[in-house]
């Protein structure tokens, strides 16, 4: 590892941190300009003006916006996400188990979807423009084109209602054995896989096809390599950067975009939690969840950037 590459990576990380602060400001401002009043929503319509004024004073709502922002930010940086208005519970302690659940579900989907998408992409290139390529593309595009709730309900109808192999409701709880937990998330994970598969597969196919025009592919052909070995050994390593980028975008989608799936399968993850508290106009919770989702996006994209840098031999081994 050499100096220029470390500098590049440090730049990416620094940029990510700056971005995260910018996002925190956006989230804060966004929730501030929403109509409604926190004190009002806590105390309800029947509250007296005096009680409202007292509560506002107590919550610090009368301070200027920037002071409230820094107070919130200071809390976030020290791990204190505030308390939920509706339940009065500490947000951090109720978020962690849910975040774990969401990451578990997203992880299960990713473990299946990423290798599958890449292998299908490689196969599509190997048999490009032939029936196998067309079938893979058609299947992947069809599964992406259906809205995820539709896929979710289809899965529930067949696998839970008709054949009764997997549960329709993905209940998980603390201390649940791993295998049982796995069984519980099979249907939502499958739905998620189907949603993200096509994008990654198509991108892998396009990135490799792009590389297949290169002169070194011809060199490999003229060495007598088998077509699939050429794709795997000579084309894929040069297509890693775009593939990693799209994989990371989809992983971010798996974490952030599970909202609908979690609601369908009543899965106790971040999505459920977010939807519940948006409905109750619980601003601190919405802020906290928004910030976590943004952080996931940014971190995954930084990882993608760094992986793309590391995949480039010119940067890894300078002259």
């Amino acid at each position: 590892m050499s100096f220029p590459i470390l500098k590049l990576i440090a730049q990416r990380i620094a940029l990510g941190i700056v971005l995260l602060f910018a996002v925190s400001i956006l989230i804060f401002v966004g929730t501030q300009i929403l109509p409604g009043d926190v004190a009002q929503s806590i105390l309800g319509q029947a509250a007296t003006p005096q009680a409202l004024a007292n509560l506002r004073e107590q919550l610090g709502l009368n301070d200027p916006a920037y002071i409230r922002y820094f107070r919130w930010l200071g809390g976030v940086l020290t791990g204190d996400l505030g308390t939920a208005l509706t339940s009065g519970q500490d947000i951090a302690s109720s978020i962690w188990p849910r975040l774990e659940n969401t990451l578990f579900l997203a992880g299960c989907a990713a473990v299946v979807a990423v290798p599958l998408a890449i292998i299908l992409g490689l196969l599509a290139v190997r048999y490009r423009n032939g029936p196998i390529d067309k079938i893979i593309s058609a299947f992947a595009l069809a599964s992406t084109s259906f809205p995820e709730f539709f896929i979710g309900y289809l899965l529930v109808y067949f696998f839970a209602v008709k054949w009764q192999v997997f549960p329709a409701i993905s209940t998980v709880f603390d201390g649940m054995p791993f295998l049982q937990r796995l069984q519980a998330v099979v249907l939502p994970a499958t739905a998620l896989t189907l949603v993200v598969l096509a994008h990654m597969m198509r991108m892998t196919r396009a990135a490799i096809l792009n590389v297949m025009q290169s002169a070194y592919i011809e060199t490999a052909e003229l060495k007598g390599l088998r077509p699939f070995d050429i794709i795997r050994k000579h084309a894929f390593p040069n297509a890693v950067a775009p593939v990693v980028n799209v994989v990371m975008l989809n992983l971010a989608y798996l974490v952030v975009g599970v909202v609908v799936i979690e609601v369908i399968f009543v899965y106790p993850g971040m999505g459920q939690y977010l939807v519940d508290h948006v409905a109750k106009r619980d601003v601190p919770v919405v802020q906290a969840v928004g910030l976590i989702f943004a952080a996931v996006y940014i971190v995954l994209n930084i990882i993608a950037d760094i992986a793309a840098i590391l995949a480039n031999p010119r940067l890894r081994h300078p002259k």
Binding site: T219, L225, H234, P313
Partner: protein, 554 residues
């Protein structure tokens, strides 16, 4: 590296191509796809250990024929007729698996651009031994040992460690030799060399050529050597085959082809470089002077021009010669203001030009025009020739409508193309025609100076010759001066009035053509001059023996 005794059992004739016919489907814009024949019933035989040179211009079918010996058709090209008998069997009948077995084992390929032909993601050694391991010729340790021996034979620096490097860490000339080692590593019977030195500087070319020749001699491998440069092929071949438009023109021994060509076309190829150009006397005052210019990239980090001074006289040609990286094109960039000099001045008509392009008035821009090496990418593919040539007329002179069209037609006549081309798109033109359009576009501005940056390097010799003649005629008619950047000394002799030889950012020799090309030479000019291949058998050995310095690319 001698071949094993098993070979004596094999037939004396290694490759026998009979009535080869190769077709491709072309998709002309706006027309139905149609099949065109690229190679018309060509036959050739090659004995074990012999070298056959395939020569001709682009489109002659040389590479197509060369690759057919590996049953390979580049870009959808199909072998539709004939037989290709390699080691006693027709390889068109052995099936996909059989073809894979012979590629990289019996026949190996050395590409024109090794820089593109190596996979940037893998170490050189992994790529060099790949075919040997794949075909089970050797174990990894044996193959690596052989590769290192070959690196040494091809006089690569650090033969024991160069395999650990990645392609981008090695220079172009070295990569070309590594590729030759890669081809030799699996001990094939035949190597197809496809213009292996064309992309290299002359001073590097001679090293690579000598290395290839030695390797062929010592390993007794047979070779098809494809090139458009007769002087190069004369150094390595036993026999030469001249091809044109996919047909055989002439086939004979090397001496016969270059000394006693029987066909008129071969004769044209042999005598192609000779343009009589009488040097114009350096009279009068220069209209453009470059004084002590120093320029650098990366904010002064990499100095590419060091204290360069040259003058250009009205209506004359200054040729700037040197290898890649010598600063030739950077000089052009400094003069045009694309790269503002750090020190020094460029004066035009007695007044200094603004350093930066953006600070120069339109009139100054008009006076300096450029023509580039790659005519393809220097034109907007979505504009017609008329629009491309008409643009400077509108921009500099405000010409519109019929007046502009008249002038475009005039310019098209001057470049010997005629009015009918005004409505064509660049994609419909040949390489030479594209370059002519670029010349017309530069002329349209009525400049005092046209900077020609390697304008003939990408063209076939005969076409390049036509372009040079055109440039000389236009110079007489329009009294335009040229700054002619090139690495090709034959071109310089044909066109220059004065010459500046550049080496590592400095002008090492400068003066009138006759003065620069008359001995005694400095070491670098000597190297440059002695590296230009001559159509003389045995020239290579003489040139290598007589050299006073190593080339920079080594």
């Amino acid at each position: 590296m001698a071949k094993t005794t098993t070979q004596t059992a094999k037939p004396e004739t290694l490759l026998d191509i009979r009535n080869l016919r190769i077709e491709a489907t072309v998709y002309p814009p706006g027309e139905a796809p149609k099949a065109v024949t690229l190679v018309h019933d060509v036959s050739l035989t090659l004995k074990r250990g012999k070298v056959l040179g395939l020569i001709g211009e682009s489109g002659a079918g040389k590479s197509t024929i060369g690759l057919s010996s590996m049953a390979y058709g580049r870009g959808g090209v199909r072998i539709t007729g004939g037989e290709i008998v390699l080691n006693g069997r027709d390889i068109l009948k052995v099936g996909a698996g059989g073809i894979r077995k012979l590629r990289g084992r019996e026949v190996c390929y050395v590409a024109q651009s090794a820089a593109a032909a190596f996979n940037p993601a893998h170490k050189l050694m992994d790529q060099v031994v790949e075919a040997s391991l794949l075909h089970g010729v050797a174990t990894r340790a044996e193959a690596e040992k052989r590769a290192k021996a070959l690196f040494k034979k091809l006089s690569l620096p650090n033969p024991d460690t160069i395999g650990e490097r990645y392609p981008h860490q090695v220079s172009g000339g070295q990569l070309q030799r590594v590729m030759t080692a890669m081809a030799l590593c699996s001990e094939p019977d035949l190597i197809v060399f496809d213009e292996p030195t064309t992309a290299l500087d002359v001073t590097t070319q001679i090293d690579v050529l000598a290395a290839i020749k030695d390797a062929i001699r010592d390993t007794h491998v047979a070779a098809l050597y494809i090139t458009h440069d007769l002087a190069v092929v004369a150094q390595v071949s036993d026999e030469i085959m001249v091809l044109r438009h996919g047909r055989l023109v002439e086939w004979g021994g090397t001496r016969q082809i270059i000394k006693e060509p029987r066909q008129e076309y071969t004769n044209a190829l042999v005598s192609v470089h000779e343009i009589e150009h009488h040097e114009q006397k350096a009279e009068g005052a220069p209209f453009l002077s470059v004084k002590n210019v120093t320029a650098a990239y990366g904010g002064g980090a990499v100095k590419v021009l060091k204290n360069v001074s040259v003058d250009i006289l009205p209506g004359q040609t200054l040729a700037v010669v040197g290898e890649s990286g010598s600063g030739k094109s950077t000089l052009a960039r400094a003069i045009t203001g694309l790269l503002p000099p750090e020190q020094g001045t460029v004066t035009f008509d007695g007044r200094p030009l603004a350093n930066r392009l953006a600070d120069r008035p339109k009139e100054d821009l008009r006076q300096l025009q450029m023509i580039y090496q790659m005519a393809d990418v220097a034109m907007n593919p979505r504009q017609t020739v008329g629009t491309i040539i008409g643009r400077p007329l509108e921009f500099y002179f405000g010409m519109r409508g019929a007046e502009r069209d008249r002038r475009v037609t005039q310019l098209l006549d001057e470049i010997e193309m005629g009015k009918g081309f005004a409505d064509r798109y660049p994609a419909e033109l040949s390489g030479g025609q594209k370059q002519r359009v670029c010349i017309a576009r530069a002329l349209a501005a009525k400049p005092k100076l046209i900077i020609c940056d390697e304008v003939t390097s990408a063209l076939d010799p005969l076409v390049a010759n036509g372009i040079l003649k055109l440039l000389l005629n236009l110079q007489q008619q329009e009294n335009v001066a040229y700054l002619f950047i090139t690495h090709d000394l034959a071109t310089v002799k044909s066109i220059a009035d004065s010459i500046a030889v550049m080496y590592r950012g400095e002008v090492v020799r400068y003066g009138s053509k006759s003065k620069v090309l008359t001995p005694p030479f400095d070491a670098y000019t000597d190297l440059l001059l002695s590296s230009v291949p001559e159509m003389e058998i045995g020239w290579l050995e003489k040139a290598i023996a007589g050299r006073r310095m190593e080339s920079a690319g080594n």
